[in-house]
Structure formats: structure tokens, C-alpha cells
């Protein structure tokens, strides 16, 4: 920036290290189980983190009041959750901070942080917002993420994925009602125990335990239509964002297939590497990204191997194959938002016997025009059996409309299954 720079910024409270001792940090509720593990990891690092679980209609109303009408729904949900929590009186506004991730990508999501600041500024002027990012953004007010914390968070993603993945393959088939939920609790506490007592990084061991917990649940031998969920990261995973889509699909007699969050993490990392190939960018950090990528890839390979050895569950997608699928549909240069990951996951699902897909997107999500709706025709050509429904999520889109569309997809899925 120039010396002759005109400053239009409004002052905002900044997170500083000393607050670690005094402040409660609120965390939005995006992936319930992944974030619960992360919450434990951050707690063990000395951060007093609390994962929000408020999901009432007031959350959305607060969001509507505090952010721009046209801002994407995820931002609205997150802001709504924060304001609702702060207003609940449970937290001391002088000793509370808000946490948000930033990817630094070309979509609006990296702008959530100023929007959150603006939203809370009036009513809670002392509440700082701290950024969790790996792109050097928000240097003044971000959580220092070193290699150690980073790898611990990455493991949380890995474990969260396994729990989510096994649960979705168990719950629709459990013989005894509630058995899958009990297994999920046990798996979760197994992870938490390791965080507290050490051995947290022994991912092969832990993952095997997670699989074993779910494999022990007695399942009925029934064939249910599998329904994949892809789309924008928040509405894809957050029950608040997608009106509890997983639960709805299970109640409709389907098996939800929710691809791993690790895919998104690896997608963000590989995009930096891709930029070098595409444009000749040579950021100093690229080689670090490459190392991290290789590391994660190896971990994922091992996890897949464990799934295969155990045989109880379908293994998670292999990220390298996702990249291969993406190339069939569009260029991996489409990297804003969830970009090429969306059609890649749809293709992967179609390839692995899950042709029924809900593509969840916030109303008016720009990257989704291209990578979601825009890629449908190509996907239909590649996979004529693909049965995809694009669902928009939005504060006023009613559940009945969304469910009706999803039901149409399910009806087609069931009919096809009956034909076979």
C-alpha cells in the first residue's frame, strides 16, 4: 500500500494474545462432529472455545437483521448464530470473541469477517473477531496457527470425516434404534480421550477404533437408495443451513452420502499448487503446500486401506481420483468457492454407485452458477443415470419447497432401484 492511502476503515476490537486467558471464543456450528473435535483440540491448546448449537428460527431472523439482504445464506446463518448467542446473556460481551475461517479465495466467503464485525459493532462493540487462515490475512487479529496446531486440526478433520462417514452408513440400517448414535458417541469420546491423554496423532490406530465402533452395530440387510450431498461447504454440511438434510434423507428411507471435509481441505491446498501449473505463479509457500498435500494424501490412502481391510463400509473417496473426475467435467482452474470440487464429487458419487445427488447451494451463490448448475449438462452426458437435484437454501425458501424437490429426486431413485 502507498503512503498516500486514505483510510476508510472503522476501528474494530482486535484479538490479542492476552485474551486467550480471559475470553470465551465462540465457534459457528458448521459440521457438528468435526467441530466438536476441533473444539477439544483448541481447548487443549488453552483456548476457551465454545461450539454454538443454537439453531432456532431467531438465529435466521437475527442474521436477516444484521447482514445485507443479498449476502449469502451461510454468512447470514453464522452472523445470526453469533448475535443470538451474544444476546442470550450467556456470554460476557467484554470477554467473548468470535472465530471465523478465511480461505482468501475469490468468492465472498473470505469477506465474512468484515461482515461479522460490522454486524456486531453496534450492539457488542467490545467483541473481537479473530480469523483462522493460512493465507496471511488479518495479521492483526488472527489465531496463530503453527505447524503443530495445524496438524492437530487436520487430524480432527480426518476423524470427523470417519465418524460422519461411518455413521451415515450405519444409521439407516441399525437394527436397534439409537445404536448408531451410541456408537458415534463412543467413537467421539475415544478421540477426545486421546486429545486429553496423548496418542492423538496415532491416526491409524484411532481410525481403526472408529471403524470398529460402527462395525459393531448390527445392521439390517436392506438395500436403500444412496443419496449424495455436494455443494457449497456450509449448506452442504451444516444442519442449520440445510434444514437438517441428512436427517431428512434418513427419514425418507435413504442413505445419505456426505463426502469428506478432508477433500475440501486438500482442494484448497492443491489449488495453490495448480496455480503454479496454470499461470506460473511461484509463491514462496507453494513448496510447503506441496509437502502438506503429500502428507495428507498418504494419510488418506492409509485410511482408505483400513476401510477396505475392514470391509464393513465403503471407503471414503480418494482425492487423487476426484481430481481425475474433475478433469472430465471442467478445468481445475475453477477454484473459487467450492469450484471444481463440486462436479468432481458428483462424478465420484456417480462412479461409485450413488447416482442420486442433492447439490446444495445458497441462493445466488456465484461459483455455483458455473460449477454447480453450469456443470449439470456435462455430468448428465457423462452419467446418463445421474439423478441430480439442485436445491437453493435461503432464509425464506421454505422447507416444503425444498423437500418437495428432494422427494422428486428420491422418487426417481426408488423407481430406478425397483427397475433393477
Amino acid at each position: 500500500m502507498d503512503k498516500r492511502t486514505c483510510d476508510y476503515t472503522d476501528g474494530f476490537p482486535v484479538w490479542d494474545k492476552s485474551m486467550k486467558a480471559t475470553h470465551t471464543i465462540l465457534m459457528p456450528d458448521m459440521l457438528p462432529w468435526h467441530f466438536r473435535i476441533m473444539q477439544e483440540v483448541l481447548k487443549s491448546e488453552g483456548y476457551n472455545v465454545e461450539l454454538l448449537k443454537n439453531r432456532t428460527r431467531t438465529v435466521v431472523d437475527e442474521g436477516l437483521k444484521h447482514v445485507h439482504n443479498d449476502t449469502c445464506y451461510p454468512c447470514l446463518c453464522i452472523v445470526g448464530q453469533y448475535i443470538d448467542a451474544l444476546k442470550s446473556g450467556k456470554y460476557d460481551p467484554n470477554k467473548t470473541a468470535l472465530m471465523i475461517t478465511q480461505t482468501g479465495g475469490g468468492c465472498r466467503a473470505s469477506n465474512y469477517i468484515p461482515l461479522i464485525r460490522k454486524a456486531v459493532a453496534n450492539e457488542f462493540p467490545a467483541v473481537p473477531v479473530l480469523s483462522v487462515n493460512f493465507s496471511g490475512l488479518e495479521k492483526k487479529s488472527s489465531m496463530p496457527v503453527g505447524v503443530k496446531l495445524l496438524s492437530r486440526l487436520a487430524l480432527a478433520v480426518l476423524y470427523g470425516d470417519s465418524i460422519m462417514w461411518c455413521y451415515n452408513q450405519t444409521k439407516p440400517y441399525e437394527q436397534e434404534s439409537g445404536a448408531a448414535d451410541a456408537a458415534r458417541d463412543r467413537a467421539f469420546y475415544a478421540v477426545v480421550r486421546r486429545i486429553k491423554k496423548g496418542g492423538y496423532s496415532k491416526y491409524k490406530k484411532i481410525n481403526r477404533e472408529i471403524i470398529a465402533e460402527f462395525a459393531s452395530v448390527k445392521r439390517v440387510r436392506e438395500k436403500k437408495p444412496k443419496v449424495g450431498i455436494v455443494g457449497e461447504i456450509y449448506v452442504k454440511y451444516a444442519p442449520l443451513g440445510n434444514n437438517d438434510l441428512e436427517k431428512f434423507l434418513i427419514s425418507e428411507g435413504c442413505e445419505p452420502v456426505l463426502p469428506a471435509l478432508m477433500d475440501f481441505v486438500m482442494y484448497c491446498i492443491i489449488n495453490v499448487v495448480n496455480d503454479r501449473k496454470l499461470y506460473g505463479h511461484k509463491p514462496a509457500t507453494a513448496f510447503v503446500y506441496n509437502i502438506v498435500y503429500k502428507l495428507l494424501k498418504r494419510m488418506q490412502k492409509n485410511v482408505i486401506k483400513q476401510f477396505e481391510e475392514d470391509g464393513s463400509f465403503e471407503p471414503v473417496h480418494d482425492f487423487e481420483s476426484l481430481r481425475g473426475y474433475a478433469d472430465k467435467v471442467l478445468n481445475q482452474g475453477v477454484k473459487m468457492g467450492e469450484g471444481w470440487l463440486i462436479p468432481a464429487e458428483m462424478a465420484a458419487l456417480a462412479e461409485t454407485g450413488v447416482p442420486n445427488i442433492v447439490c446444495a447451494q445458497p441462493f445466488g451463490c456465484l461459483p455455483n452458477h458455473i460449477a454447480g448448475k453450469g456443470a449439470m449438462r456435462t455430468l448428465k452426458t457423462l452419467y446418463p443415470d445421474a439423478n441430480i437435484v439442485a436445491v437453493d437454501y435461503d432464509p425464506s425458501a421454505t422447507k416444503v419447497n425444498q423437500e418437495n424437490r428432494i422427494k422428486l429426486m428420491i422418487a426417481a431413485a426408488k423407481e430406478k432401484a425397483a427397475d433393477c
Binding site: 500500500m1 498516500r4 486514505c6 476508510y8 476503515t9 428460527r57 436477516l64 437483521k65 445485507h68 439482504n69 443479498d70 449476502t71 482468501g104 475469490g106 468468492c107 465472498r108 473470505s110 468484515p114 454486524a119 453496534n122 490475512l137 499461470y279 506460473g280 505463479h281 471442467l330 478445468n331 482452474g333 475453477v334 477454484k335 473459487m336 468457492g337 441462493f363 445466488g364 456465484l366 455455483n368 452458477h369 458455473i370 460449477a371 454447480g372 448448475k373 453450469g374 456443470a375 449438462r377 456435462t378 448428465k380 437453493d392 435461503d394 425464506s396 421454505t398 422447507k399 416444503v400 419447497n401 425444498q402 423437500e403 418437495n404 424437490r405 422427494k407 422428486l408 422418487a411 426417481a412
Partner: protein, 972 residues
């Protein structure tokens, strides 16, 4: 064989069919007016009486889902139901189109089965047609009859009812023929279905048309057949079209156990009323509270004077609004001599002429109109017809009126039939104006349409809400969303009273949180005056007071404030004799209206010519002055006109030996044309540009549009590609660029996702494109060597080599810089001249592609006609300082906006108007930031949302209000 019963519960109707094998024993089609359960039961009683026995039964339809869940009757998704029936009765059909009350569906049968429903933002359905009929004040059937006699089609936005309304309303106001408007509405429905639903897939072969509207409306049928180019035997209109889904549901019950009719009835009777709708507090807890409320508001009624007895001076104010016409005659001491409020029935001029005659006859020669003023949508026409003294912008009229009731007023909100206007008052002048953007409009008339859908008059409907016990929460977005929220509430068993109260509260919330965007009631001010016809509805008024927690003033003439303000304005400003039409002249008054096309320029605007009896003419509908017979405004102070010409000059048109490359002039190409023209021409290609955008461009590419909520520029891009393909170029070139050129004033320099990757969408959705004729390399122009490499490999077939490409790229950059330099120089010249002539200047700030006349709808010309000089963001941003903003400043074109705002904010006599494309998610972020830059420097911020709608009326109000505010600020 068991008898099969299908019950289709749609958003507005219930259809029941009973089948016995192939024989239809019973079929019915009735409106349910939100009383779903009762209507279904009545039908079932009927079946019991007429047929009786056992049935296998299924429910289908959007409102059938809830019924199924609570009664335990089998559910068949409605598209699925249609599909089942089609396979049985029309196995050779290739596709089916079904329009329902609030749904539109397409089923592709051959060539890959696919079933599609409209998304959550879509008009073009039965409800939309109802809404439009209400607007025209005819029944749907009459509208159909009118449409069959149409002579021409006007372009009407088809995406959603709200947009269409803003197209239709001006047509009505300008006196376009009902026949033509009706036909245009049906055409809009067709376009919506073809583009919104088919999304890139062509509808061809044998097409089946289903659902109520497509059965009952002949004109709609014809429009579909014609648009799809179907021959007689390709268009199938089944006799049972309205109850087709219920037939499907009946067939779909094949696997269900047969039950006796009594069992079925019992199931429905016992279906619980759901309790999971969100409800709010009642508006009034007791009758006393309500009468107290009524009393309080009576206090602000004006006094009357008896026109039959009065002798003396008076002042006339007319507010020719979008749906209603208001007229008021006051005495010099502000008593009401005469007032009138009525729906203009699409003929505002007729209403006004007849009422003026009444005024003169009542006045019996004793009254003397000393001054007159007209405001509102119909201002120009009415002013010209009755020779009024003044035409004033609505906002000023409303402010004048509010001041009369509370000299301390600091906030005015006016909710009319079609628009919401809010202004904050600071230091006795309008400080900021908020009008509803096209998206959240449709306010007052929405209740009216709804009331009708419920089979009630508006007064009764709103009165119902007063004592509602559990008003339903209906959300606060646009009317289309509210429609489905109501649908859900109905499904859950909410009553008419709860819905009525809920709608009132939605309208209020929409105004407060969407239009004003207040985070709390305190933002609104302490002395609030509410007005507009919608506030005459006590339920709305009460909702407003409840939501803001404040008692407000609603004058007794809330619906007439515009007219009252106009009369006050005339009173205060008249000098000399009034020119207003006299009694004798009025008796002889006559006019005829004719629609035509202006041939003043290539835009060929649709215009309306109204010829008055005395030979004068009034022309409306044209975008510029030319067609109105006036001298066009001087375009030499308009940088848009300059840029449009200058940009095209970047292409020399030289023939090339390597081939012909087509450059689609849209989206990013608007920003980089000089560069690519320079590159390709110096490589030895002939550069062929796509033709100038028109509405036809949009229609041409409509069938390949994949996402109906993308911005209009993106949608136009499809037509440009088609255009180039038709021109037979060797290939079309459109690069993918995550990164734009780094102009070193932002943290990052991205393109928006749509600009960056639209080529991917184009190639995926246009079957005419392939890797050979569509070249779309991924490049980052900041990386020169890499770009050269990428271009060489993309153009290998044409023998482009590294050295040549490098040189050509340099030439491209040179042309780009030259273009920018020329634009900057022109801006300097315009600024200097505007300053010398003491003119106000407006920086019309958007994106490079807002230069497109089809996208900006000629707003630049509108500005020059208002005697303003016009600049653009790219011509001045370098004059603005580099700056730090609250948001992450990471898009090249957006960074320009902030700097342009900085420039405009700090310079005297320069204002900023931001153009925002509907659907542009990024502008949700930039708009607030640009506003804050302007306001931090004490300047007004004006935003104009643009889309395919071609209605400058609203824009004009906005700009004139802005000018009025700027002038007032200058006077102070």
C-alpha cells in the same frame, strides 16, 4: 379390479380423480382458498355419495405432502405422478410441460429422462398470471380473450412476478393496449418456462401440455406452440390436463392396500392440524386496544370544506401512481375540498379527466384553481394532458405533505401499491432516500392479489388480520417467496386471519429490514410519518408500530399524501396564472393512443403516441428524447457514449491470413477488448466482434442459460456466442482468468467467479461449441511469459509462434493502455467543461460491461437529459486515492469502485450512482462499502439495480430525488 383414487392438492386447487381400470368414474377441479382439509373432505363426501366402495388412494401435489404426512395416506411426488400418467396415456410423448398454481415443471421423456421443477425464484406460473390479471383489472379469462386479439408483443421480464410488474405497469400507465399487454404476459410465461426450466435443453418432438392454465387459456397455448415451433400434431393438449396429476396419483396408488371410503375420510378427518408453524403475537389483544388505536390515529385527520358551498381559491394536486390515481383539491388553509383515490384500472388519464370534470361541476364556477402539480409514475403524461403548472418528483411531494403533519418529522416511510419509499430527514431536507429495489417490491398490491386468491376483497381480508390470534411468520423476502411461505402455512393448517396478519407483518419487515436495512428500530428516527395506501390497512399500520416499538403518525389521508404534497407544492410555488386546463376546455378533451416503434435510432424503442384532441401529442416509452420529438440531450458530456464508440475503434477490422477469431463483447471482454483485438490483429487474425446486445441477443441464447439467477450480463453472453457462431468465425476466443490485471490498489486482484469462469459454463451448455471452435485458455495476464506460452499452445493450430505471440501481446497491452489513456483524457475534458458550465456531474459507477446499452438501459442518456455530465468508474478511479476499506479488497473491478467513490465523494458537484446487476453477489459487499465512503464524506449514495427489466421510470424517480436532495443541500 380395485378402484383407484388420486387426490392432487396444489397451491390453489384440489383435484380428485377416481379410476376403474381405464375408465374415469369421477373427476373434479376446485379451488380450495387455503381450506385444504375441508375442500378435500367435501370432495371425498362427494365420492362416497356418487361411487362408494373401496379404493386404493394416493395424494400428490405441493400442499398434498403435509396432508399425506398427517393422514398417513400414501404420497406420490407430483412430477412423478405426471410421469406415471404420461407413460400410460401418451407413451410416444417426448416432453411434457406442466404449469400449476405456483409450480412449473418440465419432464423430458425421450433422450434421457429428466424431470425438472422451477427453483425457488421463479414466476411464470398460474399465480403469476393471476397477479397480472389483477394488475390489468380483468379476470384471467378476460385476459385470455384480450390476448387473442393482440397485435404486438412487448418485452416483459419473465423471471418473476415482481419484475414483470415493473414492466407491465409503465405499459399500462402509458396507455398501451390491454390486448397487447395480455399477450405479452403470456409470452413472458412461455419465455420463463423455456429459459428457466429447460436450461440448455431444447424442448422438441411431441410435447404434452398439462395443468390448469395450459388447459383453460387459449392464448397461452398458442404462445407455447408458436415459441417452441411445434406443428399441429406435435402439441398435445389432453382433455384431462387439469387433473392429470390426480390421475397419475390414482395410478400411483397401485401398490397400496385398498381401503373403504369411510376409512379414507376418517384418516383425513383425523389428520392433525399441525403445530409447527412459527407464529407471532396477535396484533391486538382486545377490542378496546383496537379502538384506542383507531382513536389515536383519527387525531391526524385533515378538516374538510364543502366544495358545493365553497367560494374562492384552491390548489390541485395529482399523484398518478403505479396502480392508483390520487387527486386532491385544497383550500389555501389546507382544508380538503375534494379528494379521490381509486385504482386507475390501467387508464389513469381517463380517471383524472372524469374526476376533474366532477370537480368543475361541483365547484359550479365558484372555485378557482390557482395552481396545480402532478407527481408519480404518470407525471409526464398527466402534466401534458391537463397542462399542469408543475411536475414534481414523488419524494419531494411526500416530504412536503409529511412536513405539514409534523414539522419535526425525521423519517418518512411510504408503502404504496408497488413501491416502498423511505427517506430520512436531516436539517429540514431529505438526507437519504431508500426505494425498494426491484427484488423486494410488490408490496401493497401483493396483499390485494392475495386477497383475491383467497376469494375476498382487500378490505375484508385485511380486517380479518386485526384479531388474528396466531399471525403466521411468512418471511420477508420477495413475494414469490412469500407465496410459498403461505403455501407452507396453509399446509400446516393456518387460517385466513392468521395469514392476513402474517402478510401485514411481512410487508412491514420487508420494508424495515430489506429496504431500509435498519438493525434496530432506533435507526428510523423519533418522528416517523407513515403514509401510502398500504398503511390505510390497520393491520399493516399496527404491525409497523409493533415492529418499531414506536407510535407513529398516519395521517387520515395517508393514501393521498402524494397528491396533498403536490397541492401544497403548487400553493407554495405558483406565481402568475395557472395554466391548468379549464372547465370549458375539459369538456372538449379527447385523446387516442397508438403504439409504435421509434425510428430515431437503432434501439427501435417501443413507444406510445397519445394524441390529444387539440392536436398536441405525447410520446412515451422511448429511452431518449429523440422519439419524443425533442432535441436529444447533448452527449458530448457523456463518457458512456464516448466509450461505446472508442471501444469499437480498438478493432481495426483488418483481414488476416491466419483466420477469423470471434470475440464475444460481454462480461470480461468489455474490459479487455483492446488487448485481445490488438493481440489477434497483430498475430494476423481478422477480429470479428459479436453484435451489439439487444433483447433479441438474450432470447437467442436463452435456451443455453444454465442458471436462471445469474446476472443479466452473463445471460446475454449466451446470445453473443450464438451470434458469433452464426457469423461463421473460425473460433471464438474467451479466456478463463481467475486473476484480472493487477492495478496495485487492492489486496488481491481477482475477477468475480462469473467473469472468471463463464467460458466453462458456455462450453458445457451450448451443444454447438466444442474444443475446436471455442478456445478458452486459463491465463493470468500478470504473468507475461506464461500467458504467451498458454496462448501459443491454445492457438497452435493456427501457427502462432512464441515470438510473434509475445510481440502481439505487447501490442495488445499498448492498445489497452491507449484506450485507458483516451478515456481518462475524455474524463478530464468532461470534468473541466462541466465545471466551467456549472453542471453537476455523476460518476455512473459499475463494471466495464455496464457500458453495454442493453445492460444499463440507457441510464447515461437519462442522466444527460437531466442536464448532468456523466463519467464512469474506470475513467476517474485513478484520481481517487488508494484506500483501505473494511472489507477484503480483492477484486480488480471492485477496487476501482472504491477509488472512484473516494474521488466523487471529495469533489464538489460530483455525485456517484452505483449500478448493480441483480444477482451480483459481490455487490452485496461493495455496495455497503461504497455507501460508507460516500457518507463518510457527507455525500449521498445512490444505487440502481438493473436487470433485464427495461423500465426507466423508477430509475428516473431515484435520480430526480437525488438531484433534488443535492440541490437542497447546495442551497443550504
Amino acid at each position: 379390479m380395485t378402484k383407484q383414487m388420486g387426490i392432487d392438492v396444489g397451491s390453489t386447487t384440489v383435484k380428485v380423480t377416481v379410476l376403474d381400470g381405464d375408465k374415469i368414474l369421477y373427476k373434479s377441479y376446485v379451488r380450495h382458498f387455503a381450506r385444504v382439509k375441508q375442500t378435500v373432505l367435501d370432495e371425498l363426501y362427494c365420492v362416497r355419495k356418487k361411487i362408494g366402495g373401496d379404493f386404493s388412494v394416493s395424494v400428490t401435489g405441493s400442499a398434498g405432502l403435509g396432508l399425506s404426512q398427517r393422514s398417513g395416506i400414501n404420497f406420490v411426488q407430483e412430477v412423478q405422478a405426471a410421469f406415471i400418467a404420461i407413460r400410460k396415456y401418451y407413451p410416444d410423448a417426448d416432453a411434457a410441460i406442466e404449469l400449476g398454481g405456483e409450480d412449473a415443471k418440465i419432464i423430458f421423456i425421450t433422450g434421457g429422462t429428466e424431470q425438472r421443477m422451477n427453483g425457488s425464484c421463479a414466476g411464470g406460473t398460474g399465480a403469476f398470471i393471476d397477479q397480472m390479471a389483477t394488475l390489468l383489472n380483468v379476470s384471467v379469462k378476460e385476459m385470455d380473450e384480450y390476448a387473442l386479439k393482440a397485435e404486438k408483443i412487448y418485452p416483459i421480464a419473465s423471471r418473476c412476478g415482481v419484475f414483470a410488474k415493473s414492466d407491465v405497469q409503465p405499459l399500462i400507465n402509458q396507455g398501451a393496449k390491454k390486448e397487447d399487454i395480455a399477450a405479452s404476459i403470456f409470452q413472458a410465461v412461455v419465455d420463463q418456462t423455456v429459459s428457466g426450466l429447460a436450461q440448455g435443453r431444447r424442448i422438441k418432438g411431441k410435447v404434452l401440455f398439462l395443468g390448469g392454465p395450459l388447459h383453460f387459456l387459449e392464448a397461452l397455448k398458442r404462445a407455447f406452440v408458436k415459441t417452441l415451433g411445434l406443428s399441429g400434431d406435435q402439441a398435445l393438449f389432453p382433455e384431462n390436463a387439469p387433473c392429470f396429476m390426480s390421475i397419475g396419483a390414482a395410478l400411483g396408488s397401485a401398490g397400496c392396500k385398498a381401503e373403504s371410503i369411510d376409512e379414507i375420510i376418517a384418516k383425513v378427518e383425523n389428520a392433525a392440524e399441525s403445530d409447527d408453524i412459527v407464529t407471532g403475537e396477535p396484533l391486538f389483544t382486545s377490542r378496546e386496544e383496537y379502538s384506542e388505536f383507531v382513536k389515536r390515529h383519527r387525531a391526524t385527520d385533515l378538516e374538510f370544506a364543502d366544495i358545493a358551498a365553497y367560494t374562492g381559491d384552491c390548489y390541485l394536486g395529482i399523484d398518478s401512481g403505479s396502480t392508483t390515481t390520487k387527486l386532491m383539491l385544497i383550500t389555501p388553509d389546507c382544508r380538503i375540498l375534494y379528494s379521490h383515490y381509486q385504482s386507475n384500472n390501467g387508464q389513469p388519464l381517463d380517471v383524472i379527466i372524469s374526476k376533474l370534470k366532477e370537480v368543475y361541476s361541483l365547484g359550479g364556477g365558484r372555485i378557482k384553481i390557482r395552481g396545480s402539480a402532478v407527481t408519480g409514475y404518470g407525471e409526464d403524461l398527466i402534466k401534458s394532458a391537463i397542462k399542469a403548472d408543475f411536475g414534481i418528483v414523488e419524494t419531494i411531494a411526500h416530504f412536503k405533505a409529511a412536513l405539514h403533519f409534523n414539522p419535526k418529522v425525521d423519517f418518512i416511510i411510504d408503502i404504496g401499491g408497488q413501491d416502498i419509499k423511505c427517506f430520512k430527514i436531516k436539517n429540514g431536507a431529505i438526507d437519504s432516500i431508500m426505494l425498494n429495489e426491484a427484488c423486494s417490491s410488490g408490496c401493497g398490491s401483493f396483499i390485494q392479489t392475495f386477497a383475491r386468491a383467497m376469494g375476498m376483497e382487500i378490505d375484508k381480508f385485511s380486517q380479518e388480520g386485526i384479531y388474528a390470534k396466531r399471525p403466521v411468520e411468512l418471511g420477508s423476502r420477495c413475494t414469490v417467496f412469500m407465496n410459498s411461505a403461505v403455501k407452507q402455512a396453509q399446509k400446516e393448517g393456518a387460517g385466513v386471519d392468521d395469514i392476513s396478519a402474517g402478510l401485514s407483518s411481512s410487508i412491514v419487515k420487508n420494508a424495515i429490514y430489506k429496504v431500509i436495512r435498519a438493525s434496530s428500530a432506533d435507526d428510523l428516527g423519533d418522528n416517523i410519518v407513515v403514509q401510502g395506501g398500504t398503511f390505510m390497512n390497520d393491520a399493516v399500520l399496527r404491525s409497523f408500530e409493533k415492529e418499531t416499538g414506536k407510535n407513529v403518525i398516519r395521517p387520515g389521508i395517508a393514501g393521498l399524501m402524494g397528491a396533498f404534497g403536490a397541492a401544497l407544492y403548487a400553493k407554495e410555488n405558483i406565481s402568475g396564472e395557472s395554466t391548468v386546463i379549464g372547465a370549458a376546455e375539459l369538456d372538449k378533451f379527447s385523446y387516442t393512443s397508438k403504439s409504435s416503434n421509434c425510428r430515431g435510432c437503432t434501439s427501435n424503442c417501443n413507444i406510445n403516441i397519445i394524441s390529444f384532441g387539440d392536436g398536441r401529442r405525447f410520446i412515451s416509452g422511448n429511452k431518449c428524447e429523440k422519439g419524443a420529438g425533442l432535441k436529444p440531450a447533448d452527449s458530448s458530456l457523456d463518457i458512456y457514449t464516448y466509450k461505446q464508440e472508442r471501444l469499437l475503434k480498438c478493432v481495426t477490422g483488418a483481414k488476416g491470413k491466419r483466420g477469423r477469431v470471434g470475440l464475444p463483447l460481454q462480461l470480461g471482454m468489455y474490459g479487455q477488448l483492446p488487448l485481445w483485438a490488438g493481440f489477434f490483429e497483430s498475430c494476423g487474425f481478422e477480429v470479428v466482434l459479436s453484435d451489439k446486445s439487444t433483447r433479441e441477443t438474450y432470447f437467442k441464447g436463452q435456451h443455453t442459460v444454465a442458471s436462471d439467477t445469474a446476472c443479466y450480463p452473463a445471460k446475454l453472453m449466451h446470445g453473443h456466442v450464438e451470434n458469433l457462431l452464426d457469423k461463421g468465425v473460425d473460433f471464438i476466443f474467451l479466456p478463463c482468468e481467475s486473476y484480472n490485471i493487477d492495478e496495485h490498489c487492492s489486496t488481491n486482484h481477482y475477477n468475480c467467479p462469473v467473469v472468471a469462469y463463464y467460458p466453462e459454463l458456455l462450453i458445457a451448455n451450448n451443444e454447438r461449441l466444442n474444443g475446436e471452435n471455442f478456445i478458452m485458455p486459463y491465463i493470468d495476464l500478470n504473468m507475461r511469459d506464461n500467458t504467451v506460452k498458454k496462448l501459443c499452445s491454445a492457438l497452435k493450430k493456427y501457427g502462432v509462434k512464441k515470438r510473434g505471440a509475445a510481440k502481439a501481446l505487447d501490442e495488445g497491452f499498448l492498445r489497452l493502455e491507449k484506450y485507458h489513456a483516451d478515456v481518462r483524457a475524455k474524463a478530464d475534458e468532461i470534468l473541466a467543461r462541466a465545471e466551467a458550465e456549472g453542471k453537476q456531474t455523476v460518476v455512473l459507477a459499475g463494471r466495464p460491461y455496464h457500458l453495454d446499452g442493453e445492460i444499463n438501459h440507457g441510464i447515461n442518456k437519462l442522466l444527460t437529459s437531466l442536464n448532468l455530465a456523466v463519467l464512469s468508474e474506470d475513467s476517474v478511479y485513478e484520481r481517487g486515492e488508494k484506500l483501505k476499506v473494511n472489507v477484503l479488497n480483492q477484486w480488480t473491478y471492485h477496487a476501482r469502485l472504491y477509488r472512484a467513490a473516494d474521488f466523487a465523494a471529495k469533489r464538489k458537484n460530483v455525485n456517484l450512482v452505483q449500478l448493480v446487476s441483480f444477482g451480483c453477489g459481490l455487490d452485496a459487499i461493495t455496495a455497503d462499502e461504497v455507501r460508507s465512503i460516500m457518507e463518510k464524506n457527507g455525500k449521498l449514495y445512490t444505487q440502481i439495480k438493473i436487470d433485464e427489466i427495461n423500465n426507466l421510470g423508477v430509475v428516473k424517480i431515484r435520480l430526480r430525488s437525488m438531484l433534488a436532495a443535492v440541490e437542497e443541500a447546495a442551497e443550504r
